[in-house]
């Protein structure tokens, strides 16, 4: 007490400062530390349970789940790319993106009979050309729709506070869901089973050709995208716009066109993802995009939002995590696990796994 009353000598100041620091640390740090230790213990426990279960069920089951997770993750990665690109360029969480993915499934479902691809031709060479046509058409239509959405709902609000475009994005999500609901109703729709049923076995796990198809298509699309963004002029313009819009504009680059192109490419990938989803699972439903979108968004955050390789990696990991949670635990807990991971990543490593510097604006 005597020391505290003294004139603020250097020594006294230091002591008071240290006391104050100690008090702050005493009040604030333990809560945070206890919480992080608890979280860590929980993660360790879950991983332990997971490991014991993996050993119990054997290697074949593990491989099976892994393949399923990778195929699923490839689809999530395609969707996550759209989230990450849009966020990287205009810092908008495009809630409508997940529904665009569903719309891709719906549009291709509508187009397939028109080009004459039905289940009688499943797995034959006659189905290849129609499928390519459907893929390209779906991707183009989704891209056009997303560019329109950007023009109508996001561009007018580009300089408004951040909440405004976010709410229009949620609104567009409801509108897209509403349109699909109006179109086909609330039912699970059957999507024609066109992929070959052939499969082969490796160590008690059956690997279908369709698993490989999904992974290959997704990987091709992602490679094309990353070459496009790193090599083409438009890709360069996108990266420049993401860094500094004003400077980019001063360099004579049309910002509006660049942003529209970003939305187009994102939607192209989502449309492809929706078609692949339909072909893989043989079912689509109008509100699929809500949870799929949230998962894909988690994937984008997980990998480091704004980072294209990060989104691909995050999608893959999320797919595998979902498969593990479904396969070794109960599927009722999957969403809790995914969103728990989302929160933990944001708290402990907000830049995600691969990370990217995103300045606070």
């Amino acid at each position: 007490m005597e020391g505290a009353k003294l004139a603020p000598s250097r020594f006294g100041g230091e002591v008071v400062g240290q006391l104050r620091q100690a008090r702050t640390a005493f009040v604030a740090a333990p809560i945070g530390r206890i919480l992080s230790v608890l979280v860590l213990l929980m993660i360790v426990y879950v991983l332990f349970v997971l490991l014991t279960r993996i050993f119990d069920r054997g290697g074949g089951y593990f491989l099976q789940i892994m393949i399923f997770g990778v195929a699923n993750g490839a689809i999530y990665a395609l969707v996550a790319l759209g989230y990450t690109m849009v966020y990287g360029i205009i810092e908008l969480i495009n809630f409508a993106h997940g529904d665009l993915f569903t719309l891709g499934g719906f549009i291709s479902l509508f187009l397939l009979p028109i080009v004459g691809a039905d289940e009688s031709k499943a797995g034959t060479a006659a189905v290849i050309l129609p499928l390519i046509v459907v893929f390209l058409a779906t991707m183009a239509i989704c891209g056009a729709i997303n560019v329109t959405i950007e023009r109508v709902a996001y561009r007018p609000l580009r300089h408004a506070p951040r909440v405004a475009p976010l709410i229009t994005a949620i609104g567009m999500s409801f509108i897209l869901e509403g349109l699909m609901f109006l179109w086909k109703g609330p039912f699970n729709l059957h999507y024609p089973n066109l992929l070959p049923a052939a499969s082969f076995a490796i160590a008690e796990a059956t690997i279908h050709l369709r698993d490989i198809f999904v992974i290959v298509i997704a990987v091709i699309l992602m490679i094309v995208l990353s070459i496009f963004v790193s090599r083409s002029t438009l890709g360069k313009a996108m990266r420049a716009t993401a860094q500094d819009q004003d400077a980019t504009e001063l360099m004579g680059i049309d910002i509006n066109r660049t942003i529209a192109a970003t939305f187009f490419i994102g939607a192209v990938l989502a449309g492809a993802g929706g078609t692949i989803f339909g072909l893989y699972y043989n079912t689509v439903v109008f509100d699929l995009g809500f949870s799929a979108g949230l998962f894909a968004f988690t994937a984008a955050v997980f990998g480091g939002i704004g980072n294209i390789q990060g989104a691909a990696l995050g999608g893959l990991l999320i797919g595998i995590i979902i498969a593990f949670s479904d396969g070794y635990f109960e599927s009722a807990w999957t969403q809790v696990v995914i969103f728990g991971i989302l929160i933990l990543v944001l708290v402990f490593r907000p830049t995600g796994l691969l990370g990217m510097r995103v300045p606070e604006k």
Binding site: H159, V163, I167, T168, G171, I175, G185, L342, I343, L346
Partner: protein, 406 residues
């Protein structure tokens, strides 16, 4: 005549009471007082359903007032607000029903409603603090995502932890709130009398209590807004770096906003659980969070009367107009002599079914059009409106020097 008009106008313009907010408060107050009587007269004494619905609307008013503290005052985007609503409701279910006898506790807990209100409030505020403490230092968008994730997790926890919450079935038969005394009278269709140990079952009683609670909350929040804390919130909302430089403890202030907002949600949740006498994990999904957010944004973020009007309006549209539309459409088809429109055939579900399918679309259109046409909300706070004006029509560079750099 024109002189009279001119004098009226000048009185109006110079009178401090011309503030639209006060006008709205007066109208809302009168509306709240007259509403039960008007309903009873209009429906010839069978209006208890409407009154009960109005009490439910009050729950949303409370929620919107609470979210307004978070989003409107402190500028934190919360997309999982329904989680705290769920926590409040489930807290009431735990502390005021026989349910805990069937959980591993094996002992029923019955706390009076009025204390449970506070318990629910503190439970939600505590959850808000626990969630907010590690996450509030994140950038704005990330906070939105964290709250979104939290909002998805909480109802699923309540659904999955079946041993404690009886899962999907929810918890039913919650305690009925009681009052020591209550005044019955012609307004409730009885003779004038004092009732001892009054059990709150009558919708009118819920309505009255709701109005009183809302009034208390309005006073609380208005005072908070004017307080040192309220000014700190607005400083943080406008420019966090500048606020920190002025000595505002930004994380602490944001944490308070977050917990106080959550407290209101828990408060509303407790009332909701008590009135419905049932809680189920299905009632607290993402759509609820979004609905409350829309109420706040549509009404006018940061402005309490605006938020109240917004919540009442949206509540009316969502819970009264939209559910009624399919029947209206079917009646309309019958009245124009085309009953064939109503018969379902094949994929066509009939006109009423078709209209029912429109609800997502209508909801989405409301959202998008509101943001595009009136992003400042119906009754905006003055600062907010100016900000938006500045933002939308980019001002000249010289004017921009005064504005916040974006």
């Amino acid at each position: 005549m024109s002189r009279l008009m001119a004098s009226i106008r000048s009185t109006w313009e110079h009178d401090p009471r011309k503030d639209p907010n006060e006008l709205v408060y007066v109208l809302l107050g009168i509306g709240a007082l007259v509403f039960p009587l008007a309903v009873q007269v209009a429906t010839r004494g069978s209006g208890s359903f409407l009154i009960s619905q109005a009490a439910d609307a009050g729950v949303y008013v409370l929620l919107a007032i609470g979210l307004n503290v978070v989003v409107g005052f402190a500028g934190l985007l919360d997309l999982g607000y329904a989680a705290f609503f769920a926590i409040g409701a489930y807290t009431y279910a735990f502390v005021a029903s026989d349910h805990t006898e069937f959980t591993p506790i094996h002992q029923a807990i019955h706390i009076p409603f009025w204390i449970a209100l506070l318990v629910g409030m503190f439970a939600a505020a505590g959850a808000g603090a626990v969630l907010g403490a590690p996450t509030l230092r994140l950038r704005g968008d990330y906070l939105a995502i964290v709250t979104l994730g939290f909002g998805e997790i909480v109802p699923r926890l309540f659904r999955n932890l079946g041993d404690w919450t009886s899962g999907v079935n929810g918890i039913s038969a919650l305690d009925t709130p009681t009052l020591p005394v209550w005044l019955n009278g012609p307004w409730s269709g009885d003779s004038l009398q004092l009732v001892q140990n009054f059990k709150i079952i009558d919708p009118l009683a819920y309505y009255v209590i709701m109005v009183i609670l809302v009034a208390i909350c309005i006073v609380l929040v208005s005072n908070l807004r004017r307080s040192r804390l309220g000014r700190a919130w607005m400083a943080v909302r406008e420019d966090e770096v500048a606020a920190a430089a002025m000595g505002v403890n930004t994380v602490g202030v944001k944490l308070l906003a977050f917990s106080i907002g959550a407290a209101f949600s828990g408060f509303a949740g407790t009332f909701y659980g008590a009135k419905l006498s049932l809680v189920s994990p299905e009632n607290f999904g993402f759509t609820v969070s979004i609905t409350i957010l829309i109420m706040v944004v549509l009404g006018g973020m940061g402005n309490i009367p605006g938020v109240i009007v917004g919540s009442l309006l949206i509540y009316y549209v969502i819970f009264n107009v939209l559910p009624g539309l399919p029947n209206m459409a079917a009646d309309f088809a019958n009245s124009i002599g085309a009953p064939g429109l109503n018969t379902p055939s094949g994929e066509y579900p009939g006109l009423s079914g078709e209209v029912q399918r429109l609800k997502f679309l209508i909801f989405g259109l409301i959202l998008v059009l509101t943001m595009l046409l009136r992003p400042q909300g119906l009754i905006p706070s003055r600062q907010r409106a100016e900000e938006l004006q500045k933002g939308v029509h980019e001002d000249t560079v010289i004017e921009d020097l005064n504005a916040e750099t974006t």
